[in-house]
Amino acid sequence: MSIIVDENTKVIVQGITGNEGAFHAKQMIQYGTRVVGGVTPGKGGQIFNGVPVFNTVRVAVVSTGASVSAIFVPPAFAGDAIMEAVDAGVSLVVCLTEGIPTLDMVAVKQYMKGKDVKLIGPNTPGIISPGKCKIGVMAGYIHKPGRVGIMSRSGTLTYEVVDQLTKMGIGQSTCVGIGGDPIIGLTFVDLLEMFEKDEGTDGVVIIGEIGGRAEEEAAEYFRMNMKKPVVAFIAGLTAPPGRRMGHAGAIVSGGVGSASDKIKALESAGITVVKNPAEIGETVRGRS
C-alpha cells in the first residue's frame, strides 16, 4: 500500500515539450508511471515521448482520464498552470517549479479553497510510491518498495535519507517532498494523517529544516493523533538567523523557525529526533 499515488494513477505533464518536462516525463515513463498525456499550449495534436500533447489541461483530462497533473512550467506561468489544472478537475497537482512569486501562490491557494484537489509543492522533488508510481525529478533506482513513509521539505537531502534506508534493506511506502517554498500545498500534518491511516506504512520519517512552523505543527499533530513511530531530522542547526538558506522558505525570521525550537517541539511530543544526518537510516532501523 501507499498514499496518494499508486500503479493505477494516470498522469499528465504540463510543460511536457520543455527541457525539464521532456526529460522527466521520459524518466517517469521508464519508471513505470502511467503518463497518459502532456500539455503545451500551441503544440496540441503532436505526439511526444509516445504520448499525446494537448493545448489545454481540460481537453487533456477529458481525453485521457488523468487524475494527476505534474507541472514543469517556468515560474512566471506556473501559478496559472496550477489553477488551470485545478479548474480541469484533477484530484492532485504536483508542481515541481522553483521560483514562483509568493503572491502568486497566495492567489493559487485562494483559488483552491473549497475545491476537492490536493497540491504538492511547489519547489518539490515530487512524490514516489516505489515500484508503483513516480511523479517528479527524484532518481527512481535509489528507492525500494517497503513500509516507511517519508516526507520532506528538501530534495537531495531526501535522496540521502532514502539511500541510507534502501542500503539497509528498509523500503518506503511513499516519499513526498512538500516543497521548500513559504506557501505550499500539502503539509506535514496532512501527510501524517494519511500515513497514520495507511495500512502499508509502519512508521514515518520527517525531514524538516529551518523556517516556518510546519515541524511544530507536525509535533502537535503527532502528540494528539498518532500511534505509529515517527523519526525526524531538522537541517539548519548551524544556519545563521535572517539569511535565506537556498530555499525561499528556509529562513529564521522574527524569532520563528529555528532548528533548535523545532527539535524541542518534536522531542517534547515524543518524536525521535536524529542529530546526525549520517545516522537517520540507523535510527529508523532501530525503531522498526
Binding site: P101, A139, R153, A235
Partner: protein
C-alpha cells in the same frame, strides 16, 4: 532582497504615505545642501545600511546646527557600521539620509508580512512602536493587532478601521491612518514585497502622521515583473563573495568557519554544515550548487570557495541521483586541476555510475579523499581536520 530606508521612503512618497522632509546624500556637500534646504535645525543624519539597530550603533545622529552637518556627515560616510544585525564585519556606510526632526507625541508599529500557514498577507500593528515587533509580541501579545487579508478582495477599509480603533488613536487621525494602512497594503501587493514595515509611524505634537522609518524587503522571485525594483539592489551591502556567487546562480552564504563545503540542494547543504559542526569543526559557508549540479556549477562553486582565505579544507558532497557521476567526476577533476588547489579535499559522490565516478577521482593523480556515504564522509572530514591540526596547527 533588502533595500535602503531612503529607497523605501521614495516608494512611500509614490504611495502617499507621509515621510519627513529630506533626501539622500552621498557626499558631505550634498548632506549640507539638503540640510540647508530643510532649513530648520535640528537635523538628523541616518546611515543607510541594510540592517537594523543603527541608532545604538551610532549610525543615527541628531545635529543642532547647520554648521555641524558636514563634519558629522564626514564621520559617518565611509565608516563601517556594526550593529547587532550586521555581524561583526559590519556594513559600509556610503549614503546618508538627511531629514528634518519632528517632535514625537506617539510611536506606532505598522507592518505587513505573509502568513505562511494561512497563505495570505497579514497586517500587524501595535500602539507600542519603536521597538521590534517580536519583542512586543513576546512581552505582551495582546498589544499586537492582526488583520488577515482575504486575497480575493484585498485589505478592506473596515479592517484598516479596526486597526485604527484598536490602536486607540485620536479620532481626528482616523482618515489619515486608514489611508496609510491601505496605501501600505497597495504598495506591498503592487511591488511584490515580502515585508513592508513602518517602525515607528509617529503622531507628531502638531497631530501629523509620519513614517519616521521605512523597511521594505522584496520577493526576488517576482523581479521579472518589476524591472524598476531590481535597480534598487545595492551590492555594496552584500558580501562580495556572495555577489560573485549570485552571478553564477549559486546560493552561497559566507560563515565564520574554515571547512569549505559545496553541496547540491539546500537541505543537504544545511545538513552537511550541521555534520561539519558535529565532527568538531565550523563550516566556512553554505553553498548550494543546485539540485541538478553540473560540472560547470561545481567548477564555479570551487572557485568561490577558494576566494575565501579562511578555508583550510574542502568537503564536496553531491547526491546526484539521476546525474551521471562519471561526468561529474571528470568535471571536478578538471576544475581542481585548472584551479591548482592544494587544500585537502574530501569528496563524496552519489548517483548514476557512481563506481565509474569514484574510479575517475581515484585515478586522477590528485589527492582527493574519496568517501562512500555520509557517515564515511564525516569520518574522513574529521580525520583530515586532525591531520591539519597536527601538521600545520591551522585549525
Amino acid at each position: 532582497m533588502k533595500i535602503h530606508e531612503y529607497q523605501a521612503k521614495g516608494l512611500f512618497r509614490t504611495y502617499n504615505i507621509p515621510v519627513p522632509q529630506g533626501a539622500v546624500a552621498k557626499t558631505t556637500e550634498e548632506a549640507f545642501r539638503i540640510a540647508e534646504e530643510i532649513g530648520k535645525a535640528p537635523f538628523v543624519l541616518k546611515a543607510q545600511v541594510h540592517a537594523g539597530g543603527r541608532g545604538k550603533a551610532g549610525g543615527i545622529r541628531i545635529i543642532n546646527r547647520l554648521g555641524d552637518v558636514k563634519n558629522t556627515a564626514a564621520g559617518l560616510l565611509g565608516m563601517t557600521l556594526v550593529t547587532p544585525q550586521t555581524g561583526e564585519e559590519g556594513k559600509p556606510v556610503q549614503a546618508l539620509l538627511v531629514e528634518e526632526t519632528l517632535p514625537v507625541e506617539k510611536e506606532i508599529y505598522l507592518g505587513i508580512v505573509i502568513d505562511r500557514q494561512r497563505a495570505c498577507p497579514v497586517v500587524i500593528a501595535s500602539a507600542e512602536g519603536g521597538m521590534e515587533i517580536e519583542k512586543i509580541a513576546a512581552a505582551d501579545p495582546e498589544k499586537v493587532l492582526r488583520e488577515e487579508v482575504d486575497p480575493a478582495v484585498g485589505l478592506r477599509p473596515f479592517q484598516a478601521g479596526r486597526i485604527f480603533y484598536g490602536l486607540g488613536l485620536d479620532q481626528s487621525l482616523s482618515r489619515r491612518m486608514i489611508s496609510v494602512i491601505l496605501n501600505l497594503f497597495r504598495l506591498f501587493v503592487e511591488k511584490d514585497c515580502s515585508l513592508a514595515e513602518i517602525n515607528p509611524l509617529v503622531v507628531t505634537k502638531s497631530g501629523e502622521l509620519v513614517a519616521l522609518d521605512a523597511k521594505i524587503n522584496l520577493d526576488d522571485n517576482a523581479f521579472y515583473r518589476h524591472q524598476d525594483m531590481e535597480s534598487l539592489r545595492d551590492i555594496n551591502q552584500e558580501n562580495h563573495l556572495e555577489v560573485e556567487a549570485s552571478k553564477y546562480n549559486l546560493n552561497y552564504i559566507k560563515l565564520k568557519g574554515n571547512v569549505g563545503c559545496m553541496v547540491n540542494g539546500a537541505g543537504l547543504a544545511m545538513a552537511t554544515m550541521d555534520l561539519i559542526k558535529l565532527v568538531g569543526a565550523e563550516p566556512a559557508n553554505f553553498l548550494d550548487v543546485g539540485g541538478g549540479a553540473t560540472s560547470e556549477m561545481v567548477k564555479q562553486g570551487l572557485k568561490i570557495l577558494l576566494y575565501d582565505k579562511d578555508v583550510k579544507m574542502v568537503f564536496i558532497n553531491i547526491f546526484g541521483g539521476i546525474l551521471r557521476c562519471d561526468t561529474l567526476a571528470e568535471g571536478v577533476v578538471k576544475a581542481v586541476d585548472e584551479l591548482i588547489i592544494d587544500l585537502p579535499i574530501v569528496i563524496r559522490l552519489e548517483g548514476t555510475n557512481v563506481e565509474e565516478g569514484r574510479k575517475i577521482l581515484a585515478g586522477s593523480g590528485l589527492s582527493f579523499t574519496v568517501a562512500t556515504g555520509l557517515k564515511d564522509a564525516a569520518e574522513k572530514v574529521a580525520a583530515t581536520l586532525e591531520q591539519l591540526q597536527n601538521v600545520k596547527g591551522v585549525m
